[in-house]
């Protein structure tokens, strides 16, 4: 599959039709999806119609959009009018989107072609893509292993060459962690950079749309299209969106890269080695390495699980059979009606709702939810101070490479710790990117992560681009 900018150049110049590009993408999906399960639905006819409309637009001499003819996969929690959006849950098995999410609207306006919806952990709750009602996604690098989650389908689709780019959502690392596991680039911009309008909510203070792509330049080009203020989302930020790839620099002279003290302790030796090599590569390109301290960052994971579960218990209250979701027809009485209508939630979703409701109970509210919210402020303060000293932070994306399917079933805390390095970005509202940087002894991709301040995504894209070039 060609890169995004190559496709745009080919379609715009007439060297290749959008229809031919989309047909190639559909062929790879047909060939590889049965073994990977990255797409839960392919919009074959719709995608071909979209592609033909772009070719007709060009034939009429009209200017094409910045993503002309680019096939894109969208995670199954992003609304695309007239198409199913199920969050890979039985609860929304028959839900059809009544309107477009802003990100979909912007992709279509840029002449991208949406080819299908990608698999995910149910309601975006998970780090392995094993909680989907459509069955697990398999990592294209090694089919016995997980692709990461919750945007595992989007990451696997890009890694397998089915599409050059896909959208995911990231509440605790759900774009960056699967990007790291599958060996692709995954960026989650700072909170408020991209509108959440039409994104099925999990935890509203942490949810953010992100981009998975084969390389940094492609991720930058798509991020540019979908970012920016949206009047339909009050939390989206009013700030100009730069042409990110034009801000890539010749070298990294003058760039300060922070290395958080203690972040490599207890890490798998191969990942530690890759991290050290990454730091060295940045130094060789002119970056200055600075050791920094983040004393509260170690509390990010417990904070994350309390806050996001509390928000989920509230957000998922709408699936009651009346407003949204499965509707039971046999119940006797209102209480039984609610309980039976909410029965289709899977085990992990129910567990998060119970954690959240428990944390919000009047007897636990202060010690659990309020405490986590206060510690979150300390973590944010930590990052704010650090970004006064450095431009970006370098961390691992995950403590391990992709593990085997079912590996962590008996130990949920171990699974939750897989988000250790990524959930800090959501708790802090930071911009984060995972970029592949070599493999471990088993040939599995190792992801390296950069964090940057809010509204300064160009900084992390630039260092990620340099690291990518150094391999």
């Amino acid at each position: 599959m060609m890169n995004v900018f190559e496709i745009v150049e080919a379609v715009t110049s007439g060297k290749k039709t959008a229809e031919a590009v989309v047909r190639e993408s559909l062929e790879v999906i047909a060939q590889k999806n049965p073994s990977i399960n990255a797409f839960v639905e392919v919009f074959t006819q719709d995608a071909l119609s979209q592609a033909k409309a772009i070719d007709e637009k060009r034939a009429r001499g009209e200017k094409l959009g910045p993503l002309a003819g680019v096939p894109v996969g969208i995670k199954d929690n992003l609304l695309f009018k007239g198409h199913k959006a199920t969050c890979c849950s039985k609860m929304l098995a028959n839900y059809t989107a009544a309107y477009n999410s802003t990100v979909v609207e912007r992709l279509l306006a840029a002449d991208a072609v949406i080819v299908g919806r990608t698999n995910m952990d149910e309601f975006a709750m998970g780090s392995t893509n094993e909680t989907s009602v459509y069955g697990p996604v398999r990592n294209p690098v090694d089919l016995t292993r997980v692709p990461g989650g919750s945007s595992g389908g989007s990451a696997a689709a890009v890694a397998a060459g089915m599409v050059p780019v896909a959208l995911g959502t990231d509440t605790g690392g759900s774009v960056r962690q699967p990007a790291g596991f599958c060996g692709v680039v995954g960026i989650k911009p700072g909170y408020g950079r991209i509108s959440r309008y039409g994104v099925i909510a999990f935890a509203s203070s942490a949810d953010q749309v992100g981009v998975l792509a084969a390389n940094v330049r492609d991720a930058a080009d798509v991020l540019e299209v979908i970012s920016g203020k949206d009047v339909k989302d009050a939390t989206s930020l009013e700030a100009p969106v730069p042409a990110y790839h034009t801000l890539f620099t010749q070298d990294l002279k003058g760039v300060k890269v922070g290395l958080p003290k203690g972040f490599l302790e207890g890490l798998d030796s191969k990942i530690k080695e890759r991290m050290e090599l990454a730091a060295q590569a940045l130094k060789e390109r002119g970056a200055q390495l600075v050791e920094v301290e983040l004393p509260y960052a170690k509390y990010s994971a417990p904070c994350y699980y309390i806050i996001t579960s509390a928000e989920a218990s509230s957000n998922l209250g709408r699936y009651d059979g009346i407003r949204y979701g499965y509707r039971d027809t046999q119940a006797q009485g209102l209480k039984e009606y609610y309980e039976k209508s909410r029965a289709p939630f899977g085990l992990e979703v129910k567990k998060r709702i119970i954690i959240g409701t428990y944390a919000l109970r009047s007897d636990n509210y202060e010690a659990c939810f309020l405490k986590a919210m206060k510690v979150r402020e300390l973590i944010r303060e930590d990052f704010k101070k650090v970004f006064e000293k450095v431009d970006v932070l370098l961390t691992p994306t995950s403590p391990t490479t992709a593990f085997e399917l079912g590996h962590h079933d008996a130990n949920p805390i171990a699974i939750y710790l897989a988000d250790l390095y990524t959930c800090q970005g959501n708790i802090g509202g930071l911009a984060g990117i995972s970029v592949p940087f070599g493999q471990d002894d088993k040939g599995l991709p190792v992801g390296v992560q950069f964090y940057g301040p809010i509204l300064q995504e160009e900084k992390i894209l630039n260092v990620a681009h340099h690291l990518e070039q150094s391999i």
Partner: protein, 93 residues
């Protein structure tokens, strides 16, 4: 923060979800471990921390909405009659 099977069942009811005995047994064990982990937060001194807007940091929000003229026009265009930028509706009193 010890959590019992009874806690799980009661919390399930608060969330309008039926939790089976089997599920409650699984959750009890997992939630016990999770909340034990969460107690790490109690060692952090947060006495000086003030929350301006729980749930969303105040500095990220813009609470001065700008009128969306396109939307306002679309609304006005869908009414049969308008006057002085207001829509006319039937008298109810």
């Amino acid at each position: 923060m010890p959590i019992t099977k009874e806690d799980v069942l009661t919390t399930g009811k608060l969330a309008d979800m039926a939790v089976s005995e089997k599920e409650a047994a699984i959750y009890e064990q997992q939630l016990e471990a999770l909340f034990k982990w969460v107690t790490e937060l109690s060692s952090v001194n947060t006495d000086h921390v003030k929350l301006d807007a729980p749930g969303l940091a105040a500095h990220l929000r813009s609470d001065q909405p700008k009128p969306d003229e396109t939307l306002a026009k679309a609304l006005r265009d869908n009414f049969a009659a308008t006057e002085n930028d207001c829509v006319k509706v039937k008298k109810v009193l």
